[in-house]
């Protein structure tokens, strides 16, 4: 057969299977969705919407209404958050979408756990296991962790920084919808190529390889990246250009700094992978970039991990900042060292760009690079330890610590972060990494941090904001405590079982295991199911307590601190400015 390359061309009239029809329906739905979105956009960006809302709320002047929205002390969650484009509404959109994806991806995780009751894949087939694995990882990172981070940034920063104006609403809204569309399409793709999308696995288009719609998954990833890059630039603009004039950078809240570092990480690290995904997509038609035969597959891995390690810090750094803020609220004091908090997180930003190679220590980068990445991975302990010791010192020097649910979550997250961090340092050791890579030890390492910190602090902040976003309701403290204890116990049991099993060599990311590892898998299954039950308690708590009558005002600890004379005067000064809000003009 002649080997002259013939360019790919679609076969005429390929007989479609049922999955093909599903995809066609999804494409039609997408087009309809785009049209609907355009109509929605026309409506939501109309000035009349704001004026009507202001009238409904009893404001004579729409600008006053917008100002109050902007400072957000009264911003509640309802369907109007999808219609208004002020920062608070965008924040609540991101927050609730992130929580919905937390539950979706969490259910996938529980499904994976349950399927491992038997060493052989008898509950669900390995193909399904791989799909659940991919979806769980991608949705948790891109939709949950980044989503709630953006949500808290949009929701809290206007109050923290006493913004002068809020005129990026329309663009923020567009970025949100692009991000959400990307997440939805990723689920539709049913891809099973793992969250790092290595070719040639991601180039497979068989249902039994890595998912027949990997091309759709790659488009979805690009949409997610477009969304989060737009949002990052917008929020950076809000922080640097729109904050109050009497708010110098040196006095910005630590949470704002953590968001700054996070967003710089996003915009500086995701271009390589966005380009890489474009090349990968081209490879579907004409494979010239990442072909296994020419050993260029590692190039994609490098492009991926140049983004893939920063994303790991992106998923925790905003929560570093939130921990500082929550600790201050529950101890009544200031953080022990403001400057070392900023330095710690800023150094983490720098090192996040230098340690990505430790994901490829065993991929043949060469001993020089292995030494470099091992060294930087050890050095990254320093900024992490600065943050941890700063939290501990703040707690240590506090006169009194109120141990209500959010604070319990925070203390547990510090504990879990230390455990997971120590495992990370162990993995940074190349000789240990050679043994432990690809085992559940790695899974235990990052689930300690992600479940303990990302999930825990999200829940803590949600509980603190609950009276505001529910319009004056209070959650059931007893159920919330149960939520905390169940989640903390389940998380520890699951991650610890993985760590021990992984230390003994239990391979991760496979649908089965050797019977020798049965005890570790069984205890991890119990832990995973316990975490799931804990989140159901949370959902029940929110649903039932929202049904009750409002009993408190809608202020919350996060924002009332800005209710100072200086803040009020700043509000008055801002009100006299000519503001452009909500895309109204």
């Amino acid at each position: 057969m002649s080997l002259t390359p013939v360019s790919y061309q679609a076969l005429p009239g390929v007989v479609p299977g049922s999955t093909h029809y599903v995809l066609e329906v999804m494409i039609i739905l997408t087009i309809l969705g785009v049209l609907t979105f355009y109509i929605y956009y026309l409506i939501s960006s109309r000035k009349e919407a704001v004026e009507d809302a202001a009238k409904d709320e009893g404001y004579a002047e729409p600008s006053e209404y917008v100002r109050d929205k902007m400072y957000g002390r009264k911003r509640k969650a309802d369907f109007s958050i999808f219609m208004y484009d002020d920062a608070k509404s965008i924040g609540l959109r991101y927050l609730f979408t992130g929580i919905a994806f937390l539950f979706l991806a969490g259910s996938f995780g529980v499904m994976m756990r349950v399927s491992l009751v038997d060493p052989n894949p008898v509950v669900i087939s390995p193909v399904l296991y791989d799909i659940f694995l991919t979806q769980h990882a991608t949705l948790m990172i891109y939709m949950f962790a980044i989503g709630v981070s953006f949500g808290f940034a949009y929701y809290l920063l206007p109050s923290y920084l006493r913004l002068k104006k809020d005129n990026m609403g329309t663009l923020s809204s567009v970025a949100y919808w692009i991000w959400l569309l990307g997440g939805a399409l990723f689920v539709v793709s049913r891809s099973s190529m793992r969250w790092y999308m290595y070719p040639p696995l991601s180039l497979q288009l068989t249902p039994y390889g890595a998912g027949m719609a990997n091309w759709l998954a790659i488009i979805a990833m690009e949409l997610i990246f477009i969304g989060i890059t737009m949002t990052s630039i917008i929020v950076l603009k809000i922080i640097f250009l729109d904050r109050a004039d009497d708010m110098p950078l040196s006095k910005m809240p630590i949470f704002a700094w953590s968001i700054v570092f996070t967003l710089i990480m996003i915009v500086s690290s995701d271009p390589p992978l966005m380009v890489g995904l474009g090349m990968l997509f081209y490879d579907f038609f004409n494979p010239i970039f990442f072909t296994a035969s020419s050993n260029t597959v590692l190039n994609f891995a490098i492009l991926f991990w140049f983004w893939g390690h920063p994303i790991v810090y992106i998923a925790v750094l905003p929560f570093f900042g939130l921990i500082y803020e929550i600790i201050q609220k529950f101890t009544g004091g200031k953080v022990y060292s403001y400057s070392s908090a900023i330095i710690g997180m800023g150094t983490l930003l720098i090192f996040s760009e230098l340690v990505w190679g430790h994901h490829l220590l065993n991929s043949g980068l060469g001993v020089d690079w292995v030494l470099f990445f091992t060294t930087t991975s050890f050095v990254v302990v320093i900024p992490s330890a600065i943050s941890v010791f700063n939290w501990i010192a703040t707690l240590w020097t506090a006169g009194k610590i109120r141990l209500s649910t959010p604070m319990l979550f925070v203390i547990n997250s510090i504990f879990d972060f230390i455990l997971g961090g120590i495992e990370g340092v162990m993995l940074a050791n190349d000789s240990f990494n050679e043994i432990a890579h690809g085992t559940y030890f790695v899974t235990g390492h990052f689930h300690f941090i992600f479940v303990g910190m990302t999930l825990g602090v999200t829940m803590a902040v949600f509980y603190m904001l609950y009276p505001t976003i529910s319009g004056g309701r209070v959650y059931n403290e007893r159920l919330a405590k149960w939520h905390f204890y169940i989640t903390a116990f389940g998380s520890f049991l699951m991650s610890f079982s993985w760590s021990v099993g992984g230390f003994l060599g239990m391979p991760r990311a496979v649908a089965g295991y050797f019977p020798f590892f049965q005890p570790y898998q069984d205890s991890a299954i119990i832990g995973g199911v316990i975490i799931g039950i804990g989140q159901l308690v949370f959902l029940y708590n929110i649903a039932t307590s929202w049904l009750k009558k409002p009993v408190t005002d809608t202020n919350n600890a996060f924002e009332t601190v800005e209710d100072t004379p200086a803040a009020v005067s700043s509000v008055e000064a801002a009100a006299t400015d000519s503001q452009v809000v909500n895309g109204g003009d």
């Binding site: 057969m1 790919y8 007989v15 999955t19 979706l104 689920v187 068989t206 649903a543 039932t544």
Partner: protein
């Protein structure tokens, strides 16, 4: 919200999202469609392939690999049980996977017959609607050059098949044509006279097929009871 259903709405939305997502993922196709079962074959053929990331070829010696013939096309009669011997020629993982593209008269099949160049580059693109079966998996190979693994596959249905390596789908791929007629007891090389590929100017390819693909006549035409277990 003036109402008090915010939490209930959130819970309902989450339940609906989980239900839809779970149902959708669990409905993904998982069963390999062309796994052979209880196949009674009439013919037996044997192929010795060299697994090389540059393309499938015919090994000429244990360490004297011939990379000249890359990705040959094969022709079988319906009912042929093909024994595959795959010798590793490099230190990379490989698979030997076979996918059914459709009958020769189907649109996709006739398109491939009339223009085999279409299969170029990424053959897995054509497995979109159909089925595949991995004859030799990565776990059977050692990534040591010279090692040989064995597998077998019966071609029960006439039509066009693709064979490829899932690790190197862009270089290691080729076509298998299984003709539509199963009549005839004398086993020989296949229907070169009316091969559609021959009519499309690719007839010269058959010479090496004849050389390497020995189709063995059987004294007993039908052997039954072959059980194939999915791997």
């Amino acid at each position: 919200m003036e109402g008090n259903k915010g939490g209930v709405t959130l819970a309902l939305v989450i339940i609906v999202v989980i239900a839809l997502g779970m149902t959708y993922i669990l409905s993904a196709p998982t069963v390999e469609g062309i796994t052979p079962t209880n196949f009674s074959h009439k013919y037996v053929a044997s192929v010795h392939l060299g697994a090389n990331a540059n393309g499938w070829d015919f090994p000429t010696g244990p360490y004297n690999f011939d990379n000249g013939t890359v990705n040959p096309t094969f022709y079988y009669k319906v009912g042929t049980l093909v024994y595959y011997n795959v010798t590793e020629e490099d230190d990379l993982p490989h698979t030997l996977t076979i996918g059914y593209d459709g009958s020769a008269t189907s649109t996709i099949g006739s398109s491939l017959i009339s223009n085999p160049g279409l299969i170029k580059k990424n053959p897995t693109a054509y497995e979109f609607t159909s089925k595949s079966y991995t004859v030799i998996s990565t776990s059977q190979l050692t990534q040591v050059p010279g090692h040989t693994a064995f597998g077998k596959y019966p071609f029960q249905t006439a039509g066009v098949y693709t064979y490829w390596c899932t690790v190197h789908p862009t270089t290691m791929y080729g076509l298998i044509f299984v003709n539509a007629t199963s009549a005839g007891t004398s086993i020989q090389f296949h229907q070169l006279n009316n091969s559609p590929v021959l009519q499309n100017g690719l007839g010269s390819l058959n010479s090496f097929n004849f050389k390497y693909q020995c189709t063995i006549p059987l004294t007993i035409n039908t052997i039954t009871g072959e059980n194939f277990e999915s791997q």
